[in-house]
């Protein structure tokens, strides 16, 4: 993808940031970081973020992380980027006695993770750690790729150790500079003279890409992620036009030009496996459109991989709006892929929030193009992600049952719903953290948490936590809601109340509110206080407390009296799942 040049990003610094949301970010490094700070602030402007950056002086990682009163900590950073460079790593390697070099990666990893621990102990910052682009000194030739004594071996090992360790620290994200180097090449990443004279480990013209990588991590952690890909069919998923050429005539499969489409479908299927919902939106008659998914032996994607399948002759924007309504997700979390520039432009102009990548003309370039766009970052991954397609398909069946029931109450009864309400436990930390990051609409205070923070809260007896799962006769929704309540002197304060929009209007809202009040009463509290903090996306829950029996206090907080609370009616049984 074509990024603006560094000088363009630098010019952005003079623009007006005042309307943009502020994200405080600290940069510490063992190299010069000023240009990175400039690129990041400039790129932030492009993405609608006002990065308020504390850029520490040269080589201050230890000083800034060890002193609890350091400038880094007093800046109140939401994120800290830790930039270690390979040039310094090499110097350290050269100083390491020959006998100790086999343990070099381990030793360096320990000093880096020690800094993570200090940052975590002294602040609430999330950490963005740069890994190391491999600079092979070629002292051993290719033998360096097999001997533990080489710098290349130890650098590669260090990157793996950091990846492994970052899994243990849930507030640590890796900025994959090594990955960037493998895509752009060593000479595009570094310029020797720049390190010599300015201690800059990166060329200035690669800084926009590095700024984008940091920003992508931040945006994912802030919950701004893509959830769904809407696919065109003819000449997008396969070559040719199925309506004209027939299932036998389309290009897909091992051989010849069809392989480009097979490769693309394999990539899309991997997206689906990691939790991205795939939908189809095609100008075709439905029977023709579905036939290859059912009957073509070499199709990778099958009907069960597609959550919502729309094939008709209506305009695509209307069909995409229909898909959005079925899935109940934000338009800005959707991506539309179509080979036809006219369709792309039409969708873009009618639905400005949706992302419509400018797919290249040649299908063999689709995958590399989308890799470079980097649309599908995430800050977490859990088992729930793999089940998502099935859950949305079950939802389509529910919609069809609803149309057969006499009234909505009947329908809810016939769903035979059972919900579970339990305190946060280790098994569910990843999913709960993910919900806090993903939920925008049904989220009363929109506080984002990392796994580490969720774990800390679960263990802290100042909090009462409850997660909720729901299942019905069509399937298991899994964990769909989390509630965090703070023990205050006079009341239980609802710090977090969020729910997946998949289960809206099933009586789950009522069930959760009932559970909150019941839990508070059992813990000896007379009052539960909830708060609504308005965001551009959560209008749907603005009056939920009031609707479900709380009394408004006039300042967007609401109180329930646990003794006199009138519990809401639901058709959900409390049980163990």
């Amino acid at each position: 993808m074509l990024l603006p040049a560094f000088t363009e990003l630098k010019r952005n610094l003079k623009k007006d940031f005042s309307s943009l949301p502020v994200i405080k970010l600290g940069i510490i490094g063992d190299c010069a970081t000023q240009h990175i700070a400039v690129a990041l602030r400039g790129w932030g402007y492009e993405k609608g973020i006002n990065f308020d950056i504390f850029d520490s002086d040269y080589n201050q990682i230890d000083a800034q992380t060890m002193d609890p009163a350091s400038e880094l900590y007093s800046h109140g950073c939401a994120y800290v980027a830790v930039i270690n460079c390979t040039d310094k790593l090499f110097m350290r390697f050269c100083e390491t006695p020959l006998d100790s070099r086999k343990d070099f990666a381990q030793t360096v990893c320990e000093s880096i993770t020690a800094a993570w621990s200090r940052i975590s102990a002294n602040s609430k910052s999330r950490i963005i750690q740069f890994n190391f682009p491999v600079w092979d000194d070629r002292i051993f030739g290719d033998f360096g790729a097999k001997t533990v004594d080489s710098f290349a071996y130890q650098t590669r090992k260090l990157n793996f150790l950091l990846a492994e360790k970052s899994g243990e620290y849930k507030n640590v994200f890796i900025c994959d500079i090594e990955g960037i180097q493998s895509r752009v090449g060593e000479s595009a990443l570094r310029d020797n003279k720049m390190f010599c004279i300015a201690k800059m480990p990166f060329r200035t013209d690669i800084l926009p890409l590095i700024a984008k990588s940091i920003t992508d991590i931040v945006l994912s952690a802030e919950g701004k992620i893509k959830k769904c890909v809407v696919l065109d069919l003819d000449n997008t998923l396969w070559g040719g036009v199925v309506g004209d050429d027939g299932t036998d005539g389309i290009q897909i499969g091992e051989l010849g030009t069809g392989h480009a489409f097979t490769h693309f479908q394999l990539w899309l299927k991997e997206l689906k496996n990691r939790g991205i919902i795939l939908c189809v939106c095609s100008k075709n008659n439905e029977e023709n459109a579905k036939d290859p998914f059912i009957n073509h032996p070499e199709m990778v994607l099958r009907l069960e991989d597609i959550s919502v399948f729309v094939a008709n002759w209506q305009d695509k924007a209307s069909n995409i709006r229909y898909i959005r309504d079925v899935l109940n997700i934000g338009m800005d979390s959707m991506v539309f892929l179509d080979d036809n520039p006219f369709e792309r432009e039409a969708v873009r102009s009618l639905i400005p929030e949706i992302t419509v990548p400018e797919l290249p003309e040649n299908p063999e370039e689709y995958v590399d193009f989308l890799r470079a766009e980097g649309l599908f970052g995430t800050a977490s991954y859990s088992k729930e992600d793999r089940m998502r397609t099935d859950q949305y398909r079950a939802e389509a069946e529910r919609v069809s049952l609803q149309s057969k029931c006499a009234d909505y109450d009947d329908y809810l009864k016939s769903l035979e719903m059972v919900a579970e309400a339990k305190a946060f436990d280790a098994y569910h930390f990843p999913r709960i953290a993910q919900l806090t990051q993903r939920s925008n609409q049904f989220n009363l205070r929109t506080v984002r948490y990392t796994e580490q923070e969720i774990e800390d809260i679960a263990k802290d007896d100042k909090y009462i936590t409850v997660y909720f799962t729901l299942k019905d006769k069509f399937g298991d929704h899994g964990l769909i809601s989390a509630v965090i309540m703070e023990k205050r002197e006079e009341c239980l304060f609802v710090n977090t109340y969020l729910m997946s929009c998949r289960v809206l209007k099933r009586g789950m809202e009522e069930f959760i509110i009932n559970t909150m009040v019941e839990t508070a009463r059992d813990a000896g509290y007379k009052k539960v206080v909830g708060e609504y903090i308005k965001t551009p996306k959560n209008a749907m829950v603005a009056d939920i407390y009031e609707k479900l029996g709380f009394t408004p206090n006039g300042d967007n907080t609401f109180t329930a009296d646990t003794d006199s609370f009138k519990f809401n009616k639901t058709h959900i049984q409390k049980g163990d799942i």
Binding site: K10, R11, K193
Partner: protein, 78 residues
């Protein structure tokens, strides 16, 4: 040489975000924002514009835009 100066003026304008006219005797003292950080940005932008590279010695040794333009003239690829 005129063409080089014309293009240099554009690069300078781009980097300093203001209209700058440079000549052979222009130095860092003549442009307010020309500090060591901007120098790095400027060098990278000129390398990109003319498809060439400066050596480390040249980057730290050049005294005015004239010397810079001489190096560009000798080594430019575009």
């Amino acid at each position: 040489m005129n063409e080089i100066y014309e293009r240099l003026n554009q690069v300078f304008a781009d980097v300093f975000d203001e209209d700058v006219t440079v000549n052979a005797s222009t130095t860092a003292d003549d442009i307010e924002d020309w500090d060591s950080l901007t120098h790095i940005t400027l060098i990278s932008a000129i390398e990109e514009e003319f498809g060439m590279k400066f050596s480390m010695k040249e980057v730290v040794g050049m005294n005015n835009v004239g010397e810079l333009a001489e190096i560009v003239a000798a080594r430019r690829k575009r």
